[in-house]
């Protein structure tokens, strides 16, 4: 395979990825328009131009508030949602131009683990079928080998293979998440997109699942895209972190750079609210207001209405994601001031 020859080549490369959700006018609105109501179709820019490279074997954390488009980005990467514009490349080949076996290799190679294990597992299927159906359908294993294959996967994620005949509701939340992980691993993926994969779990169970992710990464040489709003979790698992705000990446750097030398005012504000076990009286300086609606994003830099350093320029001109130090990208006009 070409990927083995060039290990420096990004396993996933996104350039100018955009995803717009369009809500067309319904009949009532069209009739109202005939009468001169002037209603327009609503367009949500869930992802508005993301450039990102994911290197083989790394864990890339994607952080942002609800509604910033991080889950949508994860769905684009895993092929669930086709991007409206831009190009997604897997091992150097554009996914949109893939056909046949190549396309299949991408679809199996990028798997997803969802937030709610209860909702993402079919309640009427036994674990044996949830985990074992896809590899048989894709002829990774024969039907005769299915039981052994499922048992091996269950052992790998720390479940007792004797439970293969059970249904999802007979497991606890942490165990169900392990079933979701086994299902993703069954297709021998190289990239796993974890969308808030530990957010629904108790802290002690969350630690077990995070340790499992770390162990599987070592054993199977996996690449993770780790999507979460929890900065503590992301700081623990990630090699690099991308901070998203209203559909765009505002800062992208190594985990140390982001947590020790945050550049973007939004990142700095997020870090101030990182929950810690420090027990001293905390005085909150919360970020002013909440995430603006992506239906009607602010002009210029989307963060300017909440930014403590906003200047007139921020309202007029959108800052581009630029390199400010080796491997450290940030999208803020303040970086032009010091230069």
């Amino acid at each position: 395979m070409s990927a083995e020859r060039t290990s420096d080549m990004p396993i996933l490369a996104l350039s100018g990825i955009e995803l717009r959700f369009v809500q067309p006018l319904d009949l009532a609105a069209r009739i109202a328009n005939l009468l001169g109501a002037g209603l327009r179709t609503q367009v949500v820019h869930a992802v508005a131009g993301v450039d990102l490279e994911v290197r083989p074997g790394e864990v890339l954390g994607i952080v942002g508030e609800s509604g910033c488009g991080k889950s949508t980005l994860g769905r684009v990467v895993s092929g669930i949602l086709p991007p409206t514009a831009g190009e997604l490349r897997y091992r150097g080949v554009s996914v949109a131009e893939m056909h046949g076996p190549e396309r299949r290799a991408y679809e199996l190679g990028v798997q997803m683990i969802f937030q709610d294990p209860q909702a993402s597992l079919n309640p009427r299927m036994r674990v044996r079928d949830i985990v074992g159906e896809a590899p048989v359908a894709h002829r990774l294993v024969s039907r005769r080998e299915q039981a052994d294959y499922v048992a091996a996967l269950m052992r790998q994620v720390g479940l007792d293979p004797a439970f293969a005949q059970r249904y999802p509701h007979q497991f606890s939340g942490g165990q169900r998440q392990r079933i979701g992980i086994a299902r993703a691993l069954a297709l021998k993926p190289s990239v796993i997109v974890c969308d808030e994969a530990v957010a629904a779990l108790d802290v002690s169970i969350q630690a077990q699942v995070l340790n499992l992710f770390a162990r599987l990464r070592e054993e199977l040489n996996l690449t993770y895209l780790f999507i979460s709003h929890n900065l503590g979790v992301v700081s623990h698992v990630s090699d690099r972190v991308a901070i998203m705000y209203l559909g765009r990446i505002v800062e992208l750097a190594t985990t140390d750079d982001v947590f020790l030398r945050a550049n973007h005012p939004y990142t700095q504000a997020l870090l101030k609210e990182l929950p810690t076990l420090a027990t001293g009286r905390r005085a909150y300086q919360p970020i002013q207001g909440e995430l603006p609606s992506p239906l009607d994003p602010p002009s210029g830099c989307a963060f300017h209405p909440r930014c403590p350093h906003a200047m007139p320029r921020c309202k007029a001109e959108r800052p581009l994601l630029r390199q400010i130090a080796p491997g450290h990208m940030s999208a803020c006009h303040l970086n032009d001031m010091g230069a």
């Binding site: 508030e65 609800s66 509604g67 606890s172 939340g173 942490g174 165990q175 108790d202 802290v203 002690s204 169970i205 969350q206 630690a207 077990q208 995070l210 340790n211 770390a214 162990r215 709003h229 929890n230 900065l231 503590g232 979790v233 700081s235 623990h236 698992v237 990630s238 985990t255 947590f259 504000a269 997020l270 609210e273 990182l274 929950p275 810690t276 076990l277 420090a278 027990t279 001293g280 009286r281 905390r282 909150y284 919360p286 970020i287 909440e290 995430l291």
Partner: protein
């Protein structure tokens, strides 16, 4: 025993129960249906007015049941809940739930005023009161919005305004911010805590994430399998955890410093309340377990105001 001005929970009544405004005394709860579920066993809590108590524990440890008993939504099988606040018109307690309890067909103003409408308060007065609390939770300008037009954090603020409106003596918050972003969680928690301090309302906050409340709560009670296993001031419980479960809970919180190392994890799972093990319920997962743990440990004071239910209480140690 308690330092002056320190408010919150202690495990046993030394100073006399009269010194506390809310006394939960030896409360047990059994759900007896087809199967017998021992949801709570011998819970003792003491709260003072204006204090902020946090209850931490895994899902299914009985924390919601305890709060439902304190809030009179459920009756205890054994034990009592006393409130030593002089009778007045104000209600005893108000709830804030994880799923914000707001009516989707009412505006924010109607939602907040609804409680007083039911109490036959005049329209002018109740709207005035409602507007005041809407302003207090920072929703001025959204009085005439409907819940679906608000974000999750804003809806939760509406629920908090509803709870605060009648100036209850106790606010019981059952994981109200778990569904929200960390940024909004801290913000809401901080505001509620401030309002409760100002109005002298006691606040009980349930969570499974200690990090969220560490900087704000006065006292912490750690629950496990229907028992309070450790309680004390926030600084003591987080700074010097004495119960092995508390220690595990704190060590398993991921931080930037823990990167590249496996997190400390508590092996196994919470035992089912249907079939609790004999003696200490944490025995099966505990690194310190010995034969002594086959007998039920009783609360023991390890430091002024800090109580632990463990035969091997002590600071973190290497296995």
């Amino acid at each position: 025993m308690e330092t002056v001005g320190d408010a919150g929970v202690i495990h046993q009544a030394d100073a006399g129960d009269a010194a506390y405004d809310f006394v939960v005394d030896d409360v047990s709860k059994v759900f007896a249906g087809a199967t017998r579920v021992q949801a709570l066993s011998n819970i003792d809590l003491r709260l003072k007015r204006g204090s902020f108590t946090c209850i931490v524990g895994p899902s299914g440890c009985g924390k919601s049941t305890l709060l439902r008993i304190i809030g009179e939504l459920e009756t205890a099988t054994k034990g009592t809940v006393q409130i030593n606040v002089p009778q007045s018109k104000t209600p005893r307690s108000a709830f804030v739930f994880q799923e914000h309890g707001v009516f989707p067909w009412f505006t924010v103003l109607q939602n907040v005023a609804f409680g007083q409408q039911m109490a036959s308060v005049g329209k002018k007065e109740r709207e005035q009161n409602a507007r005041r609390w809407i302003a207090e939770v920072g929703l001025t300008g959204f009085e005439h919005s409907y819940p679906h037009q608000l974000s999750g954090g804003m809806r939760q603020r509406v629920a908090i305004a509803i709870a605060l409106l009648n100036s209850p003596r106790l606010i019981i918050a059952d994981e109200p911010t778990t569904a929200l972003d960390v940024t909004i969680q801290g913000q809401i928690l901080f505001e509620v805590q401030k309002l409760c301090r100002e109005t002298g309302t006691a606040l009980i906050w349930i969570t499974h994430d200690l990090a969220v409340v560490a900087g704000l709560a006065d006292r912490v009670a750690v629950m496990y399998a229907g028992r309070v296993v450790e309680t004390g001031s926030t600084a003591d419980v987080i700074g010097h955890p004495m119960h092995p479960y508390t220690h595990g809970l704190i060590a398993s919180i991921p931080t930037p410093e823990s990167r590249g190392r496996p997190l400390m994890q508590i092996p196994g799972m919470t035992p089912s309340l249907l079939n609790l093990p004999r003696g200490c319920a944490f025995r099966g997962r505990c690194p310190r377990a010995t034969d002594a743990c086959l007998a039920e440990p009783q609360p023991e004071q390890v430091r002024p105001g800090q109580w632990v239910r463990c035969w091997h209480a002590g600071g973190p140690r290497n296995p």
